[in-house]
Symmetry: C2
Subunit: 203 residues, 2 copies
């Protein structure tokens, strides 16, 4: 009937493949329907796995949503590739990484995670808690804590303010010239801000 | 029946009072219901004026929404008070002005305009056009154009990215310590970023 196979039984690949398939399916579903409209059942169908796998791998819809906001692929490798290198240009590498992730995640709409996040926060106040968790897991712990000389929470919130604002302007408001500027341009413009928030002297 | 008077007939004050009453009512209505849920009729009732006044003063619901995002009070006086003064601290004065407006507009919820904007963009794609118009009217024309040495649109988009991001973090995500930091603290932290975007050398 359909070209998609809703459930592949039998030779399913490894657990990590299931997890990745669920994440890709969840990104599509949350982008299209927002947090409230998305269902675990439909995400599992899109991924071609049993709905119980969502609880098994993520613990529930809330945690699955938070996971979709995070870095695809191997997060620890991605984080290492950003953290390693000249500490004075860490801000630039962070901006570059977020652009790379947001501009085109695997199978995703351009800016999809940002749009999903916005739809969800607007419709679902508890999504705010998830964004706070996302900031803590995707920004604070991997990038700020290892390099910040002091005032870690303050620096993390400042970095988050600039990165969320960039995401809003580029993907949601689509304000030119930032909406279509290439990565090196945006990195050069906004990297120094993130760098100052991370390691610069704060008043 | 009710303590509110839905329509005061007879001695209505000057036109500017009607306009201000409509703006205050619209801020409440858009914050509570978002763009789609808000109705011109209900806004007019809250303001105690005839619904035809919305078209008369603003041209329609779209333009009324854009107007609610702008500076309350006398915008030209407010803009002058920000523009006048040391050009090297203009960024700080802009951050201060937005905090003042967003933290407590007249009769408004703290962060109300930002929350209304977010709800509206999430539910109503055409609100994106309104935000672009808002950026042009509230940021680009009054603040960036008079001082930017070059690349006016780029600078305006950069300022908008930082200000929208600050609004998201402070009012929507409510991430500490930026959610409860006082104005001088935030001005000192974020003012230099806005200043660089306005007048600094761009790469």
């Amino acid at each position: 009937m359909t070209t998609r196979e809703p459930r592949r039984r039998g030779r399913r690949a490894s657990g990590e493949d299931t997890r990745a398939a669920l994440l890709a399916a969840a990104r599509e579903e949350f982008t299209e329907r927002g947090f409230d409209g998305a269902t675990v059942r439909r995400i599992a169908e899109r991924a071609g796995v049993d709905a119980a796998m969502v609880n098994h791998w993520f613990g529930g819809k809330d945690q699955l949503f938070t996971a979709t906001l995070e870095l695809p692929g191997d997060p620890s490798a991605l984080v290492r590739s950003v953290i390693d290198g000249d500490a004075g240009t860490l801000g630039e590498r962070i901006v570059g990484m977020f652009l790379q992730v947001w501009d085109g995640g695997p199978g995703g709409v351009r800016g999809g995670p940002m749009i999903a996040l916005l739809r969800s926060v607007a419709a679902h106040p508890s999504a705010v808690r998830m964004i706070r968790e996302f900031v803590s897991r995707a920004i604070l712990r991997p990038f700020v804590t290892p390099v910040a000389p002091d005032r870690v929470d303050e620096r993390a919130a400042l970095v988050a303010s600039q990165m969320l604002g960039l995401g809003m302007i580029r993907y949601v408001v689509q304000l030119e010239p930032l909406a279509s500027a290439d990565h090196p341009t945006i990195i050069a413009l906004i990297g120094p801000t993130v760098q100052r928030y991370l390691t610069g002297p704060l008043p």
